[in-house]
Amino acid sequence: MRRERIVDVLIVGAGPAGLATATGLAAAGAGEVEVVDREQEAGGAARHCAHGGFGRLALTGPQYAERWVAAAVGVGAVLRTGVTVTDWPGSLTVDATSTRGLERITARAVVIATGAHERPRGARLVPGTRPAGVYTTGELQRAVHVHGQRIGTRAVVVGAEPVSFTALDTLRRAGVEVAALVTEHPRHQASRSRAAEARLRQGIPLLTDATVAELLGRGRLSGVRLRHRDGRTAYLPCDTVVFTGDFVPDHELARRAGLPLDPGTRGPAVDGAFRTAERGVFAVGNVLHAAEPARVVAREGVAAAVAVRRYLCDGDWPSASVPLRVTAPLGWVAPNRLTPDEPGDGFTLRTTEFVPHPTLAITQDGRSLYRARHRRPAVPNRPFHVPSGWVDRVDARGGAVRIALAGRADPR
């Protein structure tokens, strides 16, 4: 009872990454390029980010999404919404559900572009009761911008990274007073102007070195208990709490496909050409590095289209690649596999601590490949880039390449 279909390229996820990949492929005449998305509308997470700042033209999220939808459809990509890929029965075959029934789609190449979500309260192991009024930014944005729902009256925002400040904007739009921003870090991780705007113009205090120790209230949230690093606790009354940031890839499909994940990003491990461990299967966008801005994932999509097209033409797939590993306080690196002789476009890293002038040390089997002091500080929840000039020195048959901060012991 499954309709069987064959396409040239199947792209799962019509966010900026998937749409940019589709646009690149369809424009290059890669045959039948189909993008499916489980939502009723294409555009991905950008769709519910009503604020501006997307792409070079600083469009709003929905405008930005719209632009990519138009681009993909304009060059002949087939875009189907309301189609959920539910399973991965074969190496290049997926199962899907939609109102038209069940399908089994086989492609010459499959691109996973399923995006990311923020870890909710439970996944962050925040104790307490389970009242209503607990959100992530994503849910908050959809509730306010897409569904026009009432939120509450007084909120605490957990996190002080860029997305946390967009949560402030959404809360303000919904008429919710914000009691405080709370971050476990010693400083906020957004731009100075944004933080100052919130603190000075809107009068929202930033509580640093503090975590939410407990949610209180039955039925509806009544407040949160905070714990400061020094052990002091404080009670903040509120009826809404928004857990922001702490993104994790929507890697379900990748795991169903049996693709090895990177232990740091928790997305499928890929090399600089977006190749996963499975021949013909690519991954792109925030499923690889949750979360980077839309313009970054769209740029990746454009690059991924070139890589997929090359594969469709020559069928080449590297037989081996060298894994990249990070050492704390580095949290992850993407891409996280190296295919020798392919320098790629550089690497994105995350740190879990502030480091004023990090000296990055990249080694393989004890041999130094790269060492440089960066002038810019490494900030948690913000990208930190490393160029790829050293990649040609990697030994294709050697062990994992390790990225660490110099002066920190490698616990290996």
């Binding site: 009872m1 499954r2 489980r38 309301g82 959920t84 539910t86 559900t97 939609s98 109102t99 038209r100 029934g101 069940l102 979500h117 923020e118 870890r119 909710p120 309260r121 439970g122 996944a123 192991l125 104790p127 307490g128 009761t129 389970r130 209503a132 959100y135 992530t136 994503g138 849910e139 959809r142 509730a143 897409v146 569904h147 729902q149 120790a213 407990e214 949610l215 209180l216 039955r218 994790v248 929507d250 379900e252 795991r255």
Partner: protein
Amino acid sequence: MTAAESAGRVLRSGPPPGTTYDVTVIGAGVVGAAVARELARHRGLRIALIDAANDVGEGTSKANTAILHTGFDAVPGSLESRLVREGQRLLAAYAAESGIPVEPVGALLVAWDEEQLAALPTLLDKAVRNGYREARIISPDRLRAREPHLGPGALGALDVPGESIICPWTTTLAYATQAVRGGVDLHLDCRVLRVDPSGGRHELTTSRGALRTRYLVNAAGLHADTVDRLLGHDDFTVTPRRGQLIVFDKFARGLVNHILLPVPTALGKGVLVAPTVYGNVLLGPTAEELDDKTATASTAEGIALLREKGRRILPELLDEEVTAVYAGLRAATEHDDYRVSAHKEQRYVTVGGIRSTGLTASLAIAAHVTELLTATGLDLPAARELPPVRMPNLGEASPRPYRRADLIAADPAYGTIVCHCERVTRGEIRDALAATIPPGSPDGLRRRTRARGGRCQGFHCGAQVRELYEEGGESVSG
């Protein structure tokens, strides 16, 4: 037409009807709902099932470990031992008929040190004394072959093949649905505040007004002692024993094949790892004696303890994402057994102290309570079989609607997935909102469909599910 020949009503507001009920059951948890269902089989009785909460199963019945026990480790000769054993068979059969998800995964009681290993023969013997003969002691090699992800150091196990996992939400809802369809009036948001005798009847003062009844069943769970005192009894005190649990994401399901039980100690049954019928993995529960009957919050200490235990049992489990953390309260008393008693002169039956096995025992408790009611003088008309209910499938062992081409072809709403993590379709949400007992909150909708219950907890679908709930709620009540 008498009330019992047509369906009962589900009322959440307004005063209860002025008529006198024949039997009223206080508490619409799994036990009270089972009792109401059993009584509904006797045509011609006017029955009320009432609960203080705005939905069925809002108490302990929604927050347990969801195991259909064999009762192998009960206190031999106790009422609990008998009712668990009988209840297990009854519920397994009922589940098969009603579509309540059950998976007969079996349990392994794992010994982690010499002392625990030495305790296994005693437990085996206890199982036999409880009438359970299928248990076997197995070697560490066999254990490892069956649970390859188990942490290092396990010395052996007691294999209890009869233990199953079940869906507690559907169970309570199935009983209550069948009861209502069989004529029982379900009064929700209706807290019993006082009980007064009035000329061969009980007059209940509730938060929604007066309700009269000839016979009364107290199945108030954690508050069974309070209600008992309203009738002048001081036979037991409920001391809530909190159990906190961590639900791991579906990808953890591949790590565990059985319910992994610890060897019980004097402090309780200990922390287990068990699959759920929804395809997740549970780690828990803790056992904390409290005095607050509303203390269903999780704590940092509880979570830390569970993670420490879980790391020993199944180290890889800790690398998986957590879906949710929750806590339930067992209705423990100072006694080592259920406290079920009949008070003939008061036409009253107390069902108290249904501690950690009430889900399993529910149907047997219901049969027992019905017998006790007869002994107190209730004239029971002949029993009939109620028309079977068919519950929506929340389990992963048989195809959910999104995987059924036949359903989608007949109704495309089953092809529209709303909650992506749990694969809940618009059709299922619509059905739940229009069901005999509609949910009283988005959480109630979650327990009926799983919508918003997955790894993202609403990041993707929360706003839409709330919207559907609010629209559906209007059309149902309007």
